[in-house]
Symmetry: C4
Subunit: 276 residues, 4 copies
C-alpha cells in the first residue's frame, strides 16, 4: 500500500512534505511543529480532564469529540510521515515511529472492543495515548549535553541502583522480623517497599516503625539515604563538567615547546609565543 502511494507521489512533492514534517529549520517546518505541539498538549489535556468525574458528566460528549478529532489528525500525520520518508519501515520501527502509532492506536481499539467488561482495559489503552507527549522531547534540541553525560555515567548509575536494591532487600527483611504486622510490615515485599520509601527520603508515613529497634534501624537507613544521594549526584556532575569542559581545551600541542592545554581560540602558544 505504501509503495503504491509512494510511486504515485512525485519525489518533489515528497521532499517538500518531508521538509515540512521532519525538519524544524524552515518557516513552514517550524509552524508545523508548533501546531503539532499545541495539538499534543490539548489532546493530553482532554484525556486528563475526561478522567475527572465532574468534568466527564458535564462535558463528556465534547471531550469524546475532541479525542476523535485529534486521533484523526494524528492518523493523517502518521500516514503522511510514512509516505514522505525514504524508508517507511525504518521509520515505523524507530522509537518515534512506535510512539506515533501508540499515540493513535488506543482510540481505534476502544471502538473494536465495545463490551462493557473490557471498559477498564480500554481506559488503559486510552491513557497510553499520553505517550504521544514523549514526542515533545524530540522537538527540543537542548537535551544533547544532558543525554551525553547520562550515557557516560550509565554503567556507574547501574552499579549504584544495584547496590540500592541490595540494601533495601536486606533492610526490608530485617524490618519484617523486627516489626510486628500491625505496623504495616505484613510481608518482605511490603517491607522492601517501606525501605525504598525511606531510603529515597520520600517518607509517606503509611508504613512506619513503632518499636525502638525498628526506629533505630529506620534512622540508620535515613542517614544512609541522605548520604548516598551524593553518589549519583557526584557521578552526573563529574560527567557534565567533563562534557562541558571538552568543548574548551584544544588537543593541539605547540610545535615549538610541545606544551598542551591551549584554548581552542588560541593562535599563539601562551608559553613560548610561537605561532601554532
Amino acid at each position: 500500500m505504501y509503495s503504491n502511494k509512494n510511486s504515485r507521489s512525485g519525489s518533489k512533492r515528497r521532499s517538500v512534505l518531508h521538509e515540512v514534517i521532519f525538519e524544524a529549520d524552515t518557516p513552514a517546518g517550524k509552524a508545523f511543529d508548533i501546531f503539532l505541539l499545541c495539538c499534543i498538549a490539548l489532546s493530553v489535556l482532554a484525556v486528563m480532564l475526561d478522567s475527572v468525574k465532574v468534568v466527564r458528566i458535564q462535558y463528556g460528549g465534547v471531550l469524546y469529540a475532541i479525542e476523535w478529532i485529534f486521533t484523526i489528525l494524528f492518523t493523517v500525520e502518521y500516514i503522511l510521515r510514512l509516505l514522505c520518508v525514504g524508508r517507511p519501515f525504518m521509520y515505523a520501527k524507530s522509537f518515534f515511529g512506535i510512539v506515533d502509532l501508540l499515540a493513535i492506536a488506543p482510540t481505534y481499539l476502544s471502538m473494536l472492543l465495545p463490551g462493557s467488561q473490557y471498559l477498564l482495559v480500554i481506559r488503559l489503552l486510552r491513557v497510553l495515548r499520553i505517550f504521544r507527549v514523549l514526542k515533545l522531547v524530540y522537538y527540543l534540541g537542548e537535551a544533547t549535553v544532558l543525554i551525553q553525560a547520562l550515557r557516560a555515567s550509565r554503567r556507574k548509575i547501574t552499579v549504584f541502583i544495584f547496590v540500592i536494591f541490595t540494601i533495601v532487600i536486606i533492610v526490608g527483611s530485617l524490618m519484617y522480623l523486627i516489626e510486628s504486622e500491625e505496623s504495616g510490615f505484613t510481608s518482605i515485599p511490603r517491607s522492601v517497599y517501606w525501605a525504598i520509601v525511606t531510603l529515597t527520603t520520600v517518607g509517606y508515613g503509611d508504613i512506619s516503625p513503632k518499636t525502638s529497634l525498628g526506629q533505630a534501624l529506620a534512622a540508620l537507613v535515613m542517614i544512609l539515604g541522605f548520604s548516598i544521594i551524593a553518589v549519583p549526584t557526584g557521578i552526573v556532575t563529574a560527567e557534565i563538567t567533563q562534557a562541558m569542559g571538552q568543548k574548551k581545551v584544544s588537543t593541539q600541542a605547540c610545535s615549538e615547546c610541545s606544551a598542551e592545554g591551549h584554548e581552542i581560540d588560541a593562535v599563539y602558544c601562551k608559553f613560548c609565543g610561537a605561532k601554532m
Copy 2:
C-alpha cells in the same frame, strides 16, 4: 503632575534625593536602605500576625493602624522615587517599579471595596503586599554569581523540568488505572499530583498506593526521583564551577591587539603573539 513637581524641584535637590534613595554607597543612602529594610520586615510581620485568629481578636486595631502607617510611608517613598529619577516612566515600568506599586496598592483597594462580599478578595490583595519583600533581593549584591550560573543553566533546566512533567503525567495516568479510587487516585490530575509528590521525594502520604502493583510502580518512581535529582545539581554545579573559574581569567588586555580574556598564566597574547 510629576512633570510639574519635576520643574519645581531643582536638579540639585533631585540628585541628592536620588543618591539617598537609589544609591547604597553613601552613609545617607545606606541608612535609608537599612531603615527601609526594617519597615518592610515589620510590615510583613504585621500582615502575617494579622492572619492569626488569636492575635487579630486582641490586637486587630493596632495591626490595622500599623498597616496604614507603613502603606503611607511606602506611598511617600514611591512618589519620591518617581520624582527624583531621570525617567519616571522607565522606573514605573521596571520590575521594581511594579513591585513598589503592588506593595502599596492592596491597602488602598481594600478601602474602595468595603462590601463584605469582597472580603476574601481584599484579603488576597492584602497578601500581595508581601511582594514588597521581593525588594530585599535588590539590596543584596551577593547574588550575581548565582544568577549568572542559573542564567547559563536556564535552557538545560527547562529541558529537565519538561522531562519531569512528561514522566509525572505518564506515571500519574498509569497509577490512575492501577489503583482504585478509594486510595485517593480519583482522577488523572490528582494522580499526577501524587506523582509529583513522590518524584520530588516530598511524600505527604495523603495519597499513597495500596495495591502491590501500585507500590512497585511507586518504588520505581522514587528511585527515579532519587537518581534524577543528580541532573539539576550537576548542571548548576558545573555552571557555578565555571562562573567561579572565570575569575581566573586575567583582566589584562593585550597592548598590541587589545584582545581580552587571557588566562592569568599567559605570557604572550594568544591572538597576536605579542609579549604581555
Copy 3:
C-alpha cells in the same frame, strides 16, 4: 577433612575447578557465574514470596522444596570453593567466605531447632540467607571508581555524620521540652528519631510538632537539612572528579630516576630534570 580431600584431588583438576569457580574471563567461568547469579536471584525471590501470607498458604510446600534445593546447591559450591582454592582458611575467613557460609547456614539451623517457641528466631535466621545477594556486588567490576572515591572521602563523611548526630541529639532534646507528649515526643530517643526523620527530609508525619515554637524549630531543622545535604554531595563530587581526572596522569616512568605520577603534558621529569 579439607586437607584429606586436597591430597586426593590432582592439582590439574583443582586448577580447572578454580578457573571455573573463581575466574570470570573464560567461557566456562562466565557461564558458571551467570548460572550462580540466576540461582541467587531465584532463591532470594523464593524467601521474599514465602513471607507473603497468601502465597505461603498455597505454595508453602513448593517454596520449602526450592529453599532446600538452593541450599544444597550453594553448599556444594561452598565445599568446591574450599577444595580448589590454594589456602582454604584464608578464603573461609575472607568477607565473601563468611557471606557464603551465612548464605547456607540459616536453612540448616532451622532444622536443628524445630521447637515452635524458636519459630521467630528461625525466621530471622532464614532472612539472613538474603546476605547471599551481597555476593552479586563481587561479580560486577564497574564499582572501582565509586569505591575509590568513597574511600577517599571516608574521613570527611565520618566528620559529617558525626556533626549530623550532634545536631539531631540537641534538636531532639529541645523538641522533647517544647512539645507535649501528646504530639508523639514521649522521650528524648524518640525525639531524636523525629529529628533524623526531619533533617534527612524523609518526613513520615507519624510524629510532628503541634505548637508554634515546635514548628518554628522544625522549620529551621528542615532548612538546615535541605542546605546540609550539599556537604556529602560536594565531598563525593570533588572526589569523583579527582578520581576521574587521575586518568590524565601519565603512566610513564622517568627513565633516569624511575619516578611516576607525571602529568601527560610533562616534557621533563619534575623530580630530576631529565628529558622524558
Copy 4:
C-alpha cells in the same frame, strides 16, 4: 580565686597539666581525651535514657547518681582547665569555655531550684547538659577542609536562604487564601510552615492542600524545591573542589620560562627542564 590558685601551683606542674588536658599529641593527652570522650558519650546516654518513662521508673536512682558523678568529674576538669591555662578569662570567654560551663551548670541549677513549680524549667536546664557533646567536634581535626569550604560559601548560602524565606512567605500567604482552614492552613505563619515542609521535600502530610488550585501550587513548590536544592549543592561542591585543588598547584613560577601551574612536589620546571 583563680589567680590565688594560679600562684600556688608551680609553672612546671601547670605545663604538664596543660599538656595532658589541652594537647592530644602526647600519649597521656590522647588517653585523657579518649577517656573524656567516653565520659561525655555515657553522660549524654544517661540523660537520654532518663527521659524514657519505663527506664526512669526502674533505674531513676542509678541514672541520678550517674548524672552527679559525671557532673562532679566535669566540674573538676573545668577547674583544672582554668588553672593550667595561661589566661583563664580568655578560655572562660571562648566558645568551648562557655560550652564547658553550660555542660555542668544545669545539674547544679536543678539543686538550687527544688520547687515543684519549676520542674519543667529544671528539665530544660538538664537537657542543656547535652551541649557538652559539642566538645566532641573540638577533638576531631578532620573538619578543616569542610569548614574552609563552608566559610567561603557563607555569603552565597545566606543569599540562597534569604531567597528561600522570601519564596516560602509568599507561597504560604497565597496558600492561606486558596485553602480553607479545615485543611490545616489556619494562619499565614502556619501556611509558611507548610511551605517550608514542602519546599525542603520533607512532606509530613499533617497539613496538605485539598483543593485543585492548592495542589497545583503545591506541585509547583515541590518541583521548585527539587530543582533549587541544586544551588547550595553547586556552591559547596565548587568550593570544596577549589579548597582541595589549592593544595595541589604551587604558586611558584619557573625562573627560566616563567611558566606557572607546577605541582607542589615539582623540583624541575615541567616545560623547560630548569631547576626551580
